[in-house]
Symmetry: D3
Subunit: 68 residues, 6 copies
Amino acid sequence: MRISARNSLKGRIVSIDKGATTAHVRIDVGGAIVTSAITNAAVEELGLEEGQEAYAVVKASDVMIGVD
Amino acid sequence: MRISARNSLKGRIVSIDKGATTAHVRIDVGGAIVTSAITNAAVEELGLEEGQEAYAVVKASDVMIGVD
Amino acid sequence: MRISARNSLKGRIVSIDKGATTAHVRIDVGGAIVTSAITNAAVEELGLEEGQEAYAVVKASDVMIGVD
Amino acid sequence: MRISARNSLKGRIVSIDKGATTAHVRIDVGGAIVTSAITNAAVEELGLEEGQEAYAVVKASDVMIGVD
Amino acid sequence: MRISARNSLKGRIVSIDKGATTAHVRIDVGGAIVTSAITNAAVEELGLEEGQEAYAVVKASDVMIGVD
Amino acid sequence: MRISARNSLKGRIVSIDKGATTAHVRIDVGGAIVTSAITNAAVEELGLEEGQEAYAVVKASDVMIGVD
């Protein structure tokens, strides 16, 4: 499926931390770590594993801008 | 201000496209382009300009995972 | 790409209303109309057109529950 | 209360899975299952129960579009 | 309708700024101004007007914490 | 860091409830309680504690409007 979300950053999964219902998946994207909070069910359905290539996908309206 | 959002990707603003109320700001983050939709008011208040260093900031619960 | 978002409702696009930067795309999902606000750029890149089959995709953490 | 969220899909709760702080509530909306991640506190305050009629409510800016 | 969103701050609408598709509604909540970006369609359907009492409603997973 | 999020409500933390991966932080903002769901990691990194001054930060596109 192609999706309208504007941002899709390719990287590699470095850790998967499952909680009771919510999992935290961390992806290394060109040296920066991106943290994602998704459902445990999504981790299982996609068969996510550490070391796997994956994308961090974010809708443009969920991206803020910060400046120093 | 330090903020709880887990993701803060440093880059450089490559374009600012103001609409009627909503602006699209695009940041080059290590070669990947990240698009952000924020208010025109935020663009003005932060004084955002093309070429400026800035961060794309995203809450972990707004990051999805995609796999090929 | 397979995506972690838990909700993917199949329907047909009934209208596309482009604004200055943000477009509203409405999908008929089994008789219910679902409204999506996405970037004009996404509408163009996906080549969205009225009458086309499409999915309304929503992350579980963005779904609220209401009761009468 | 009437709310600005554009999407309100009527259905019936098929499961409630409480975690440590976050609950997953699944609603059958015309045969499609919609998954919602809300706080345990919301489940209790609304008195949600399996079999109950409820709405999946989503803000338009949280709906993405996918195409095959 | 009662809704699972944990945050509902009562205030008074101080301005409504309609764009091409997206409107910005600002509410005075006990002296603090809260800005909301919603669809023009929602402004019309709810019949929002300056001076009117209204609530700023936010899902807990959309609230970040900042510290100085 | 200054951030594009339009809403930053100053208050005092009244409770922190850590789950397996997700924490609920409640802030008293001028008498109203605002609930935030963030990662446990954010609670630790920011060193959040009950009684501390903090801000509830929300992007304008995540604020809905409700009317009675």
